[in-house]
């Protein structure tokens, strides 16, 4: 089933808190994992990384090896990394780094230790927080409610295509494109074929999750010259399966929906702000009064909302 959400504020504010509410209202759609992509105040230089190590007893060694790879690419930590651990075997990391000489080359090398420590987001603004458990639990563990930003995505996962693992949760970062993230409700049936094609072009996938494909697929189309609008539209005929997905970058949030119209999206746009969710009762956590609700219920739909609700395309 899965539940997704998107939120854009008119100016930088408590977007983390709003996304936790949107996801808490949809926890029944998938409580095995929850994740958030938050776009905070963008940095002029340096990248914020979020990552996950799979054995907390090896944290020091993981980070030492990770740092050695960073240094080989002309980068280093800009400040002390911070870590979150609990009873689970895995740990979560947040770090700020200086600009590597080449993001794609660096992440390719950094991924050589991805079986121990994987980078889950990289951006001037983007931070992806994901973990097993429901919205409240993940939010409390990682301080999501206090995260400040202009926009973001949320996801509640009911695993259908791959295992319940902390790193198989959404959102997914469009490796290696900085600041691009997706959340997806549905199942992609030809993801294996598409992954093969993209891997031959040099892309790398770290999980068995079908949704990881979408972020890279759309970003690759844009990198090949398509506008975001056309890339979203093309995905409807090119990717096979059932989907409503939302993709975000620093400028806004877009969505696309398959030609079978199976997965809903409910949107409220008001006063230069936007809230989107799979279920209307979720957006009612933000907009409790009566308001105009847009139901994107039809088949083959796309839309892009700019940050500050500058509408980029219909």
């Amino acid at each position: 089933m899965c539940g997704i959400a998107g939120r854009i504020l008119a100016s930088s504010g408590r977007v983390g808190d709003d996304l936790v509410e949107l996801m808490d209202a949809q926890e029944h759609r998938g409580a095995d994992s929850t994740g958030f992509a938050i776009y905070g105040p963008p940095r002029d230089s340096g990248y914020i990384l979020r990552g996950m190590g799979f054995d907390k007893t090896r944290l020091d060694k993981d980070i030492e090896d990770f740092r050695a790879i960073l240094k080989a690419h002309g980068s280093d930590f800009a400040g002390e990394p911070s870590f979150v651990t609990d009873d689970n075997a895995h740990y979560c990391a947040r770090m700020v780094i200086d600009d590597p000489r080449d993001i794609a080359r660096w992440i390719r090398d950094a991924d050589t230790i991805a079986d121990r420590f994987e980078i889950q987001s990289c951006g001037r603004s983007l931070e992806i927080i994901k973990d097993v458990g429901g919205a409240q639990g993940v939010a409390d563990k990682h301080g999501v409610r206090d995260m400040i930003g202009t926009h973001g995505l949320g996801h509640a996962r009911l695993a259908t295509e791959s295992s319940v693992l902390p790193n198989a949760s959404h959102p997914f970062w469009a490796r290696p494109f900085p600041d691009v993230a997706i959340v997806h409700n549905g199942q992609i049936t030809d993801y294996f074929t598409w992954r093969e094609k993209l891997m031959r072009k040099g892309y790398r996938f770290l999980t068995e999750n079908d949704s990881e494909l979408i972020a890279v697929w759309v970003s690759d189309q844009i990198a090949s010259g398509l506008t975001p609008e056309l890339a979203l539209k093309k995905s409807i005929s090119a990717i096979d399966g059932v989907f409503t997905y939302m993709i975000a970058d620093r400028d806004g949030i877009g969505f696309a929906k398959d030609r079978f119209a199976m997965k809903p999206l409910v949107v409220v746009e008001q006063d230069g702000e936007m809230a989107a969710a799979t279920e209307e009762q979720a957006v009612r956590r933000i907009y409790t009064g009566e308001c105009e609700v847009i139901n994107y219920d039809g088949p083959s739909l796309t839309h892009i909302w700019g940050v500050g609700n500058r509408s980029l395309a219909a």
Binding site: A261, P264, E279, E280, R284, E290, V293, D297, G298
Partner: protein, 230 residues
């Protein structure tokens, strides 16, 4: 008949529904406020009950209705009136996906548009939509009528059994195995008799009645391409 007001808010849905049932059993008309688009409101209402929901409701409102009169002030989420066997449901605005799914009898009156697959697998009764019915409406309807006054989206009346889809206004495209037939004067009179009590009778409508072409009732491998065209 006295009125009882029930506040929904964030309370457990089971508790709200128990209060609605108890008020109906005691012969009161019920008004439910602050619905916040919650799911499963007013499921399984008994014959004779009168329930009004202020604002918008979530999924399955009025589902399994056994003869109640339900009004929803604004929008309904998925599958309003799913599996209802009797009664009358009015949606003031838009009804989401699968309105009247698998309903057996009774009437659902939607004043706005409906979402995709309106009347999916319905087994009887009538769905009247004043606006446009969404993508693939009437999908695999076994029996009953969907009546749309404002047109229909793509893949209209897809894979019908013995249900009928009546549309006044433009139809974006037909689904698989649909025959568009000219209704007889008696049939038009029957439809007008359904619309009359809703205040929607209009003899000048140009109806298109869609029924099953019956080609897909029995699967034959040579028809596989027709099945796959959706």
């Amino acid at each position: 008949m006295s009125e009882i007001v029930i506040e929904a808010g964030k309370r457990p849905i089971r508790e709200i529904n128990e209060e609605i049932q108890a008020a109906c059993a005691a012969g009161h008309k019920v008004i439910v406020r602050n619905t916040l688009s919650r799911h499963n409101l007013g499921v399984g209402l008994p014959p004779g009950a009168i329930v009004h929901f202020e604002g918008s409701v979530g999924y399955y409102c009025g589902g399994l209705n056994d003869g109640a009169t339900v009004t929803i002030e604004r929008n309904a989420g998925w599958a309003v009136g799913e599996g209802m066997s009797h009664g009358h449901i009015t949606v003031g605005g838009y009804a989401g996906m699968s309105a009247g799914a698998a309903m057996i009898d009774g009437t659902i009156h939607i004043k706005g548009d409906s979402g995709p697959r309106c009347g999916v697998a319905m087994k009887g009764g009538n769905i009247v939509v004043e606006g446009k019915i969404g993508y693939q409406s009437g999908f695999m309807a076994h029996k009953g009528r969907i009546i749309a006054l404002g047109g229909a989206g793509h893949s209209c009346a897809d894979a019908l059994w013995q249900g009928e889809v009546w549309v006044a206004g433009p139809v974006e495209s037909l689904g698989v195995d649909v025959d568009v037939v000219e209704p007889t004067a008696e049939e038009v009179a029957e439809v007008d008799a359904i619309l009359e009590p809703l205040g929607l009778a209009d003899s000048s409508r140009n109806w298109r009645k869609m029924i099953s072409g019956q080609r897909l009732w029995y699967f034959e491998s040579r028809d596989a391409s027709a099945w796959l065209m959706i």
